[in-house]
Symmetry: C2
DNA sequence: CTGTTAGCGCATTCAA
DNA sequence: TTGAATGCGCTAACAG
């Protein structure tokens, strides 16, 4: 007698001398089955080497137990720890995680949203700052937003206080005596960009320093933007003794640009980043930056997702806020400039 | 008349005045359906807002069109470009990619292998160096190995010539006049570790330099290992003018250890890494290292996977070999030591 | 080229 | 507590 390639619930039922319904119950809702029946079923399962076909189960239950984590740009190591947190929470709850790369491309974003309609996934954790207009009118699938905010949409969110974090970063520079502080922002069409800019302004205001638009340039979080914008400032002859970048990547680009002009960090210019990515501590000099508890944020986002999926869209929209922390390393120093 | 929450193929069939089979064909194998019938079906699809339930489709076809990419440690940015390549090839072919974190933990590895038995995925792309013994006897799911090798298993593989790459790296150091060259290896129980060590030995041999076991220490690719092992060598008073680490992470750790002893790179000691990760070029000094075409490797691995899934386990085991390239930056310099 | 029919494997009624 | 029967949505024979 040869064993079936993929024994099914029927084979188990036959061997255990019960019905398929009982096998199904014994496996999915053990409490609804008598002790010794359950034992017999489990023995048959083991004997036959039965593995439930989760594809069929998902089909029947209309739930895939899969969640998509959609990020801006997958090649940013920033997301790795987030993913790790999401994956851990998912793994523990029997969920799988699919990672999606939005690349600021409407077609790709749409594709991942559609994946829920096609039942590949039950919901999405968004780490992007906007949705294509073409989607705004559709009925959206279960969503959780992590570290971002999508204008006009009130969604369950895991966030940090970006303005407060930026305020702390800039205040650190002010306390070191800096007065002419450049800010390379994120995209100003999105919350991440405006909130950090807001913190920058508030810090200056509190210190009684006028806001100088010449010292503020709009970036997009990328290394190349950080480099190009800093070079632009230097070319235009802007004078400054400190620079606050809205991401470590841009801080990195800025440092490269400064070095290429023979400007030393932190001797001539202090630099603060945002994110505390892995590289931040390895740079020369190690970067002062804002740390976010990425792993915990990922876990919380997944927890929110699971909750939403279980409660079938309950009323209150949960907002989970995590603290940030300024990590002071060696890229910032007292201002020597009068 | 209200629209169904999730219109199915039957609704489309009714509206288009055809059978469900025709709708199915019109969508999955358009060439098997007459032009105008197809048009009518597509109109109905659009009118109704029908989205195929891929869960049901996968269930019926017994294929999930999902592949798992199982890596050693997800927090290593090295894998991001690989993932990107895999995802691109998958996206283009209508496949999804699930990323799994092995963490050198048998339970986790087993879990991801089981995911195929449970029909979550059709196969796995492995970037790990071993499988738990408990699995060796089982019938394994479709596998592709990328950049690694699993002892005793002859699997479709995308690889680079690690020995040749290491040979090139060490030869570079030899040409700079170095004679006492440390090698921090990968795990010597696995191919990645032994192959690179082999290249190191061959390079020394060709230069007529005796192999000195005191200069070779076994690491595990991690930053902390690089640091600790280098400190160990220094503590033991080993003298060397160059160091070849089997990963950038370990090179990073080594540089940190050297700096902490006041040893400058590359003035006092030249350092070569392996992988050309993002940080390599940003370090101070920028790291000389071995570059691997990660994105292409990811694409090739996915292509091999798809081929395997389509051809239902054909006979010849494809081996795809990619070239590596020594990227010379500033962490290596001529030897000043006699 | 198209329709009819029959399941895929499982979870869930409804009775017993 | 258990079994018989039903159908999720779709695709794949098989006829016509």
């Amino acid at each position: 007698m040869t064993m079936a390639e993929h024994p099914n619930i029927k084979a188990v039922a036959d061997m255990a001398g019960v019905s398929t319904a009982t096998v199904s119950r014994a496996l999915s809702r053990p409490e609804k089955v008598r002790e010794d029946t359950r034992r017999r079923v489990l023995e048959a399962v083991a004997a036959i080497g039965f593995v439930p076909n989760d594809q069929a189960r998902a089909f029947r239950r209309r739930a895939s137990h899969t969640v998509i984590l959609l990020v801006r740009d997958i090649s940013n190591p920033f997301y790795l720890d987030i993913y790790k947190g999401v994956e851990e929470a998912a793994f523990a709850a029997g969920y799988k995680v699919l990672m999606g790369d939005a690349r600021d491309d409407d077609r790709r974003i749409r594709h991942y949203i559609d994946a829920v309609r096609e039942r590949h996934a039950d919901g999405l954790i968004l780490m992007i700052g906007r949705l294509p207009d073409s989607l705004r009118n559709d009925r959206l699938p279960p969503l959780v937003v992590a570290l971002e905010a999508i204008a006009g949409l009130d969604l369950p969110t895991v966030r940090v206080d970006n303005a407060a974090a930026a305020f702390e970063a800039v205040t650190h520079l002010l306390q070191l005596g800096h007065r002419r502080i450049v800010h390379i922002t994120g995209p100003l069409g999105e919350h991440l960009g405006t909130a950090r800019l807001e913190g920058y302004r508030r810090a200056l205001e509190q210190a009684g320093i006028a806001y100088d638009p010449d010292l503020v340039v709009e970036g997009d979080f990328s290394l190349s933007a950080g480099r190009a914008l800093t070079l632009g400032l230097l070319d235009r002859g802007r004078r400054f003794t400190a620079l606050f970048a809205a991401s470590d990547q841009m801080a990195l680009g800025a440092i490269g640009a400064l070095k290429s002009h023979g400007i030393q960090v932190p001797r001539d210019v202090s630099v603060v980043g945002f994110d505390d990515t892995l590289v931040a501590g390895m740079l020369d000099p190690p970067l002062t930056t804002i740390h976010q508890p990425r792993r915990e944020i990922g876990q919380a986002a997944m927890a929110l997702m699971i909750r939403q999926l279980k409660k079938s869209r309950s009323a209150p929209v949960p907002q989970h806020c995590f603290p940030t922390r300024l990590v002071i390393r060696s890229s910032t120093a007292p201002c020597h400039d009068p």
